[in-house]
């Protein structure tokens, strides 16, 4: 199959959908001729024009709010938020408006918008441009939260997000933008709420998201050499979460490691751990669960420190060994 990058997959999903559906448009900072901070929308203003690829002022709260208003009245906006850290500024519109409007109206109206935004560290962008704050959104009823880890998933899940009638937060990862994968040319949809077992194994389950999926797969290869058979589950969508797939995996392996880049304390990992600790899989556990996550510091600038802040392949390998040899 044709190989394209994660970034191209996202652009292709948007472009294909925008050709089909006049109601879809994108708004965000520098998404026009500049092509967006990461180049995701490059070429789109040329195809779709400035009405549908709308460059905005630096006004995150108005961008988000305008998208809410447009969605509520029949459009299907896609917000490109330049860095996911800036969601702090758009938070009121996302959390107090988009997520709640339908419920507060007693089920009338809908807010079909997609907020796409790059998160994560690894580019030296430091503390205010490297966070992974997806756990915040997971906590808010009314939102869907998607976090694709490869090009194929990105394209299919973004299509599903655009088709969804609810506000969807679509977390992209900066370091994944340039990664390549097989992606069908035609449009396709991956159901929101279906985890993907990225590697089958029987000794230990690693539930990993975004970049950590790749690190877990790398760790798994290493561990295979030592005869440890790792299963890697990628939830892909955090809300709704495919609890069933995770529970089945843990029942099979009896061991669970959760890995995400976001700060461990208060991170999404706690949710996964809890789902298992509360489920029938609890009884199948042969070792304590382990979470791997970011250290409790803002992301530092220095590349060595930056790397040391988030889990690496070696950390995963070590955690697996500890768990397996418990």
């Amino acid at each position: 199959m044709r190989e394209i990058t994660y970034l191209e997959a996202i652009r292709e999903a948007m472009s294909q959908e925008m050709r089909q559906n006049e109601d879809i448009f994108i708004l965000g900072e520098d998404i026009g001729v500049y092509g967006g901070a990461f180049g995701v929308t490059r070429g789109m203003i040329e195809e779709f024009g400035p009405e549908r690829v709308r460059n905005t002022p630096i006004s995150e709260s108005a961008i988000a709010g305008a998208a809410v208003g447009a969605a509520l009245t029949g459009m299907r906006p896609i917000i490109e938020l330049q860095f996911s850290d800036f969601i702090t500024i758009a938070m009121d519109q996302i959390v107090n408006q988009a997520a709640k409007l339908r419920y507060m109206n007693g089920g009338k109206g809908k807010v079909p918008l997609v907020l796409r935004t790059p998160s994560g560290s690894g580019t030296g962008a430091a503390a205010q441009h490297s966070q992974s704050l997806e756990a915040w959104l997971v906590h808010i009823p009314g939102l869907r939260v998607i976090q694709p880890s490869n090009a194929y998933d990105a394209k299919g899940l973004l299509k599903a997000a655009m088709d969804d009638d609810n506000p969807v937060i679509f977390y992209e990862h900066k370091l994944l933008y340039k990664t390549k994968g097989d992606v069908p040319e035609e449009s396709y949809s991956i159901p929101i709420g279906k985890a993907d077992v990225k590697r089958k194994g029987k000794d230990v389950t690693i539930v990993a998201t975004a970049m950590m999926v790749h690190k877990a797969l790398e760790a798994a290869e290493e561990l295979a050499k030592e005869g440890i058979d790792v299963e890697v589950v990628d939830p892909r969508t955090l809300v709704p979460l495919d609890e069933e797939t995770i529970i089945q995996s843990v029942k099979k392996t009896g061991r669970l490691i959760v890995a995400h880049e976001a700060v461990k304390r208060g991170g999404f990992g706690g949710e996964i751990v809890s789902v298992i600790a509360e489920s029938e899989a609890f009884d199948y556990l042969d070792a304590p669960i382990k979470r791997l996550g970011g250290l409790p510091v803002p992301i530092p600038y220095n590349p060595h420190l930056e790397k040391a802040t988030v889990p690496q392949v070696a950390d995963i390998i070590e955690a697996v060994k500890e768990t397996v040899h418990f």
């Binding site: 305008a66 998208a67 208003g69 339908r102 419920y103 109206g109």
Partner: protein, 327 residues
């Protein structure tokens, strides 16, 4: 033809008459709500617009049916003027299934999408960017409607105000911003919380026209809003209108009103915009004093009926709790 007053061409004498009743409906509605809250028969909180009826009714009278509004926490008046029925509103305040939000929203979240009311908002300034987005839809889909965006003087100090007006301006969106300056946020007076003479002066920052109107003069409001709305409809972009007005009641449920004097309140009460409107219509020969009385009575009765309707509406079932989160 009216003798002394100029009104937009679509405003008939009948419309003026019904507007008069509408203002009473707003006032009686909020007076009634006030009583229920005082008695503890409604829970939560509410923000009454008694005294501010002309800016709600007058502004919305300038709109076409296809036009939309965004409202605020102090939104009962906007809601009624945009065509909501007081039964559904009162039922909502009672938290009942026949309420506009099936009892899930309450006073500060009533929306009436069918009539083009995109909703009250519990977040000060929260509705402003939403209005801009709704106007964007109108422009992109060529729907021809204009959005009238209500907010308070206090809200004009929020960042969302600034960002929204700028965005609406650069995109020439069909939205009209109307600031109901009732002199106070909750307790912060506009004089202490800004250093502008008029909130409308802030229009300069967005290169849009800014207009100040007497918020107790329904006719002036109607004309000014009409001109701005038609300007917006023709693609010439937004306007910021400020209506100087006053809320007679406290900010919300409990308010000792220590931040203002009883004299100031008295002065504003004297300028009652409903009475003024009535005198005008009588002077114009549009109705008689008796007719006015009758309309007022009718409004009162509608509110009484609404209470009965609300009281008879069932509580929502506990099962309904989990419904309506996702579309």
């Amino acid at each position: 033809m009216l003798k002394t007053i100029k009104v937009p061409s679509h405003i008939t004498e009948e419309k003026l008459v019904s507007l008069y009743k509408e203002m009473w409906l707003i006032r009686y509605f909020d007076e009634k709500v006030d009583q229920f809250f005082a008695k503890g028969m409604i829970h939560g909180t509410t923000h009454l617009c008694v005294g501010q009826e002309p800016s709600a009714a007058g502004a919305i009278a300038a709109l076409k049916d296809i036009d939309k509004i965004t409202s605020t926490h102090r939104g009962h008046g906007h809601c009624i003027s945009k065509g909501a029925n007081v039964n559904g509103m009162m039922a909502e305040l009672f938290g009942r299934v026949d309420g506009y939000c099936k009892g899930k929203g309450g006073s500060i979240h009533i929306a009436d999408l069918e009539k083009g009311n995109l909703g009250a908002n519990g977040i000060v300034g929260g509705g402003i960017p939403i209005a801009v987005g709704a106007a964007l839809t109108s422009k992109m889909k060529k729907e021809g409607y204009v959005v009238l965006c209500f907010f308070g003087d206090g809200a004009s100090n929020e960042g969302s105000f600034h960002e929204s007006l700028n965005l609406a301006s650069i995109w020439d969106l069909p939205v009209v911003f109307i600031c109901e300056n009732n002199q106070y946020g909750m307790s912060g007076s506009v004089k202490e919380m800004t250093r502008v003479e008029n909130i409308a002066d802030r229009a300069v920052s967005y290169g849009m026209p800014g207009k100040v109107v007497d918020g107790l003069d329904a006719i002036e409001i109607m004309n000014t809003v009409y001109d701005a709305v038609e300007r917006a409809r023709q693609g010439h972009g937004p306007t910021l209108i400020e209506a100087k007005t006053y809320r007679w009641k406290g900010h919300s449920k409990s308010d000792a009103k220590k931040y203002r004097t009883r004299e100031e309140e008295e002065e504003w009460r004297k300028k009652d915009g409903i009475k003024r409107f009535r005198d005008l219509l009588i002077e114009e020969g549009i109705f008689t004093e008796e007719k006015a009385k009758q309309l007022q009575e009718e409004a009162k009765q509608e509110v009484e009926d609404a209470v009965k309707f609300a009281e008879n509406s069932p509580q929502p079932s506990i099962e309904s709790l989990l419904e309506d989160v996702y579309a």
